[in-house]
């Protein structure tokens, strides 16, 4: 018998890796599932091949042949389009989360075309293989009219083999595996969508749309700066950038010291109070909206609903917002628990992807 102490073995990797196998299985079927979040300010995609992409929801077309030659393309998207907007025919096709026009209406053709190109582009960024069939679920704003929903369907069908629309807050909640008794707060650029989910598709009575979203914060911020520093000069885009860097509702926040031109001269300004005030302004209307949705819910489940509030959307990245909403809920409603979803920018897209996955094949077939 040898007496040497045996070596410690390396721990075996306990999680079996099946991704590879399941990927192959999917590819064998040749289907790429995608989830798309079609937002006013951003369009994001999550695909079953693991790719995720996001692009500002703007589309630009060179105004003339010279421009086309200059850019080497007939259409530009996202940041690139924003940057060159002066020489472009510029579109935000999803203003207020809804396709601005429907085909055929005079003056709106440009937006419809832009929406079509945007959807086509975001799918292209998911890098489908040439032979892959694409099944897409698109999250549309909860309050989108039937008309705009069918407009979205129509333009999307050109880039996908089969496509379905579902309500955006539903896909957010579905992505978090919270199927029943959930309140979703989706803070976008143009709108805050509040949605009560209770196991079925949300109806009109389950939804409230507020205008106190990201753009509203920008406007409040601008107004506050005009008040405190009447001579400061800034653009909307500049303020949005500052907000996205510093936004917070917390008592203890990082000081928002930035340089803005004052009468043409770059000047250091402390905008902490102005920004905090602007961010805080969205809390009361949100909680007021929540109160309405809770009060009209089955009394037996009201407490459960208060305890299951999901915070999503780009605007939810304001620091301390979850705690501030929770505190206001405690004051106004007696209790509340708010969970900020992990990736607010992709919550809608990954949820939509999950729905696409879970959708039985025959349904996809029938909608082709």
């Amino acid at each position: 018998m040898t007496s040497s102490q045996p070596n410690e073995l390396p721990e075996s990797d306990d999680t079996p890796h099946f991704e590879l196998i399941s990927d192959e299985a999917e590819n064998a079927e040749g289907i790429l599932y995608v989830g798309i979040d079609l937002g006013t300010s951003r369009t994001s995609i999550a695909a079953s091949n693991g790719v995720r992409a996001t692009v500002p929801s703007v589309v630009g077309y060179p105004k003339d042949v010279v421009g086309q030659k200059l850019f080497g393309r007939s259409v530009l998207f996202g940041d690139e389009a924003i940057e060159k907007r002066m020489s472009l025919d510029f579109h935000r096709p999803l203003e207020k989360g809804v396709l601005k026009g429907t085909a055929g209406e005079a003056g709106n053709d440009g937006d419809v075309r832009a929406a079509r190109d945007l959807i086509n582009e975001i799918i292209r960024r998911a890098r489908p293989r040439k032979d892959e069939i694409i099944y897409a679920v698109i999250g549309a704003p909860a309050e989108a009219s039937i008309k705009s929903k069918s407009a979205i369907l129509e333009v999307a069908r050109e880039s996908c083999d089969s496509v379905m629309i579902c309500s955006e807050p539903f896909s957010v909640a579905y992505g978090q595996e919270m199927l029943e008794d959930v309140l979703v707060i989706d803070i976008g650029a143009g709108t805050v969508d509040l949605c009560r989910m209770h196991g079925t598709m949300p109806e009109d009575a389950d939804q409230i749309t507020l205008e106190t979203a990201g753009d509203f914060v920008d406007d409040q911020f601008a107004a506050a700066i005009r008040e405190s520093n009447p001579k400061a000069q800034f653009s909307k885009e500049m303020l949005k950038g500052i907000k996205q860097r510093f936004a917070s509702v917390a008592e203890e926040m990082e000081p928002c010291n930035v340089q803005l031109p004052v009468e043409g001269k770059p000047t250091e300004l402390d905008l902490t109070e102005e920004l905090r005030g602007a961010c805080r302004a969205i809390v009361p209307p949100i909680v007021d909206g929540l109160r309405k949705l809770i009060a009209t819910f089955d009394p037996e489940f009201q407490d459960r609903l208060k305890d299951r509030v999901l915070l999503a959307g780009g605007g939810s990245q304001i620091k301390g917002l979850d705690i501030a909403i929770e505190r206001e809920m405690h004051e106004q409603l007696g209790s509340g628990r708010v969970v900020r979803i992990e990736e607010p920018m992709y919550g809608g897209a990954t949820g939509a992807l999950k729905i696409a996955h879970d959708m039985p094949e025959e349904y996809w077939e029938r909608l082709k």
Partner: protein, 320 residues
């Protein structure tokens, strides 16, 4: 051996099982191993000279030592699943998904770890040595509780009779002739360490060396022992690696079995399953319960209906 006198091993089962439950758990594990064809080994762990231990240090010292050994057993198996119980003064442990190689490695660890243990039962320091008897069945037929217990116990007794502080293998398929008492002088070691060819080769080398170097004559056994020792050491590291690999292979094939089962089910309900991805989710244990599944199915149907309506509306509008 009509009914084995099991006592539950408190440190390993946290008092969760009664002796009879343990016994039936072992039997279940064995029947599973017969059905799915995975390896199991039975270890019987005895404290050498435990009777005199009681005489020397009092009866409680026995309990204390056994408790400590149990803890050591758990620690040195790195919580890999085993079923353990006390049978008389010996600990019985059944290791699923473990073959002969793995058993040797485990036994080795236990025996060496015990040498470093020290107890004091209120009085003087006590140190003990262990002997581990191993029963490693090679065919499914041999994976029966009572014969395995008997073989492991017998191996342990033989090891103790030979001086203890060792492990001893009892391989049932060869009627106990293939027992393994790892001592360098024991030429039975040879069969395990190298194949016949190697053995012949070494013999010829030694013979020819004896002819060439007169000094070498007579020292061949010394060299031989040295070589054996080196090889035994080498084998031990390899054994450890093998044990790990064995466990991983077992794990993979278990998962594969599960996957195949799921695929089979999916094929049977053709068209009812939402896709291959969900099968893998189930295999990985991240699938939802049934209630969620029904709910989700209803939700998918509702989304589909709504979209169908949208499509119809859009089409009828176009036709207007």
């Amino acid at each position: 051996m009509a009914s084995l006198p099991f006592t539950s091993l408190s440190a390993s089962d946290q008092g969760l099982f009664t002796p009879s439950e343990l016994r039936s758990l072992m039997e279940k594990e064995l029947s599973r191993s017969r059905r799915y064809g995975y390896d199991v080994v039975m270890l019987s762990i005895g404290v050498d000279r435990i009777a005199s231990l009681g005489d020397l240090y009092g009866h409680e010292s026995k309990g204390l030592v056994l408790e400590e050994i149990t803890r050591l057993l758990i620690a040195s198996t790195r919580s890999c699943d085993f079923l353990g119980c006390l049978m008389g003064d010996r600990i019985l442990a059944l290791f699923p998904h473990t073959g002969e190689t793995g058993a040797r490695a485990v036994a080795n660890r236990i025996v060496s770890a015990a040498r470093d243990l020290e107890f004091s039962a209120g009085g003087p320091q006590i140190s003990v040595t262990l002997t581990v008897g191993i029963a490693a069945p090679r065919t499914a037929k041999e994976r029966e509780l009572e014969p395995l217990v008997e073989q492991a116990t017998q191996a342990c007794q033989e090891g103790q009779a030979a001086g203890g502080d060792r492990w001893q293998l009892m391989a049932p398929s060869t009627n106990g002739h293939d027992k393994h008492a790892p001592s360098l002088k024991d030429t039975a070691d040879m069969g395990e360490l190298m194949d016949e060819m190697l053995r012949e080769k070494m013999k010829t080398v030694f013979e020819s060396m004896g002819e060439q170097l007169p000094d070498f004559a007579g020292r061949d056994s010394e060299v031989f022992a040295l070589a054996l020792k080196k090889m035994a050491e080498e084998r031990q590291t390899q054994d450890s690696k093998l044990e790990l690999l064995e466990r991983r292979i077992q794990r993979l094939s278990d998962n594969l079995g599960l996957t195949e089962e799921q695929l089979q089910r999916a094929m049977e309900m053709k068209g009812m399953d939402p896709g291959v991805a969900s099968i893998y989710q189930e295999v990985q244990g991240i699938a939802d319960g049934d209630s969620d599944k029904t709910l989700k199915k209803d939700m998918m149907a509702a989304i589909y209906e709504a979209n169908l309506e949208l499509q119809d509306k859009a089409e009828s509008e176009q036709n207007d």
